[in-house]
């Protein structure tokens, strides 16, 4: 398509009524019509031309039949205004029937997610589909937990259920008879420990003895006060029978965590009597006893190292010496052979070519053949060009050799005084 030869008309065509309405609106805003009428009334010379002065727009009633009154919808993000299309806007609007339900329980327990979509649109069937979960229903499911909680509240005792396997082979008769175990309770009060033992396990109730036992020992006079503690310790250790040890070990193995344990705490006296050792702890780096024999080094290696040190010192010394004076430097240069310089290229005689052409001639010779009419070149930094270059470009443009598309202040704010 050739736009230069094929003239295409404008795409817009507003009716005359719009322009008349716009004109009358403008005149009303500026109050011009009244002004004209007043001046015409004051001047008798224009009586004959009064009818001609009155414009069609001002004389004729306002015709707004062709004007479409539209609401404008502006996008707050893009600030674009669009006409409201009611048909398009009506799409997507869904009328949702009101959802009603009656409950005297907590409405948070109504499971809305369980209502399918097809049911939710049917108001009659909706009530039957709503499952109301009351607080009482929720409690019924956790009855077992509740009874445990009540037992704790009433008795104040903590029932501990544990399974203890009974190994009959290893239990002695004495151990079988003994069903009461003395357990040092951390609470100090009597604690009931229930052991539910199924077949072959059996339930054993172990009452906890709380009365302390007082044991009186006879100490011979030969035992001094310093040795009294160790003596009593030896006396207090009962000789445990293998059967008792086995029972204790079994119970400990069977009840590793549920049984309350008392940690052994060393007495304050023991803490005080621990001597503080100031000696260093034993380490893996013990001193090596004896001296190892070094390997013999050849004698010539030392001589070579000394020579290398001397050479290095010489270079360092020469490097840190101050520079030679200018006269010495000149003398040194004179000694060196000088290379004769080649004669400079002769100056190109360019006086015959205008200055402007000289600058842009390479551009013309290289770029111009690429273009046909018009020879258009885009120059971005025209404002920063030297004045001489601008004159040259202007010279080319004036002679019709080229057209330059220069960046300019086209869209700077235009002032009214410039025209």
């Amino acid at each position: 398509m050739d736009l230069e030869n094929e003239k295409i008309g404008p795409a817009y065509k507003a009716p005359d009524s719009y322009f008349k309405e716009t004109e009358s609106r403008l005149m009303q805003r500026l109050g011009i019509q009244a002004d004209v009428q007043e001046k015409l009334a004051d001047d008798p010379a224009v009586d004959t031309a009064q009818s001609a002065i009155q414009t069609i727009t001002s004389a004729a009633p306002l015709d707004t039949t062709g004007v479409q009154k539209r609401a404008r919808k502006q996008d707050p993000m893009t600030a674009k205004s669009e006409g409201i299309n009611k048909e398009v806007d009506a799409l997507g609007n869904v009328v949702i029937p009101p959802l009603t339900f009656t409950t005297n329980e907590n409405p948070e327990w109504v499971n809305f997610g369980a209502i399918p979509e097809e049911v939710s649109s049917d108001a009659d069937n909706l009530d039957s589909q709503i499952k109301i979960v009351s607080f009482a229903d929720a409690n019924a499911s956790t009855e077992g937990e509740k009874s445990v909680l009540e037992a704790i509240e009433v008795t104040g005792e903590i029932p501990i259920a544990m399974e203890v396997p009974v190994i009959e082979d290893e239990l002695s008769p004495a151990a079988n008879e003994t069903t009461e175990l003395v357990v040092e309770s951390p609470w100090g009060d009597a604690a009931l420990i229930e052991t539910s033992i199924n077949n072959p396990l059996e339930t054993v109730e172990i009452p906890v003895a709380t009365e302390p036992k007082v044991i009186v020992h006879e100490v011979p006079e030969s035992v001094g006060l310093d040795e009294l503690e160790s003596y009593l310790t030896g006396k207090n250790q009962p000789a445990q029978t293998p059967s008792e040890q086995t029972v204790d070990a079994k119970i400990e193995a069977a009840v590793p965590l549920a049984t309350p344990r008392v940690e052994e705490v060393s007495s304050p006296r023991e803490m005080e009597e621990k001597p503080i050792s100031l000696e260093a702890p034993a380490t893996a780096f013990a001193p090596i006893a004896g001296r190892q024999n070094e390997s013999a080094t050849p004698g010539w290696l030392g001589v070579a190292a000394a020579l290398a040190a001397i050479v290095a010192a010489y270079f360092i010394w020469t490097a840190i010496q101050p520079p030679k004076s200018d006269t010495e430097q000149v003398a040194l240069q004179e000694e060196e052979a000088t290379i004769p310089e080649a004669p400079l290229d002769e100056q190109v005689q360019t006086d015959t070519i205008p200055d402007g052409r000289q600058i842009v001639e390479p551009l013309i010779m290289e770029e111009m053949p690429k273009y046909k009419e018009p020879n258009v070149y885009t120059i971005i930094d025209a404002a920063d060009m030297p004045e001489r270059t601008k004159l040259a470009l202007q010279d080319l443009e004036d002679n019709g050799l080229a057209t330059f598309d220069m960046e300019d202040e086209l869209f700077e704010e235009l002032d009214f005084e410039s025209l």
């Binding site: 805003r29 669009e82 009214f416």
Partner: protein, 197 residues
Amino acid sequence: MSHESTQHTIPTNALRLSDCTEDELTAEMLRDGMSSALFEEVVRRYQKSVYYHCRNLLVSHDDADDAVQNAFIKIWQNAQQFRGESLLRTWVYRIATNESINLIRKRKPTIDFDEAQPEMAELISEDLYLSGDDIALKLQKALCFLPFKQKLVFTLRYFEDLSYADIALLTSTSEGALKASYHHAVKKLEIYLNVLH
């Protein structure tokens, strides 16, 4: 305002103003200032072309309507600043162009006038007062793919038939630059139209 203090000459024959040429109208304004009758004649004479010029630049009818209203109000309020260095029509076009640029900047403050605004092409077919000419509509859509500078020069030259000298005065740029911009615009539009065709 100065136009109120100036003693405007009441035209003795309104038909005389409507028969005036561009030069005579400019001379009338320079001699007697912007009278009410002269302003009405200016509005009547340039309203359509200014509207289509703003519509070409802004695409939207509502924006063009706002730009035209603001432009004529400024013409009335700043009539005393017209110094006659160009035709009255060129001055009117300049103010309308300025208003269009201001409106675009107001709608989109971060706009770059060296960049095209292709999203405006989608608004053309939905707006009011279209001529119905298919090829003209395609040309308008293709105009949206031009940088604003080239779009302005093309519309002033192609649709409004302003000379390069008038456009140079209007845009405060050289004729050479305008020719280059117009040339670039034509070439790009031909490519776009061939693609859209």
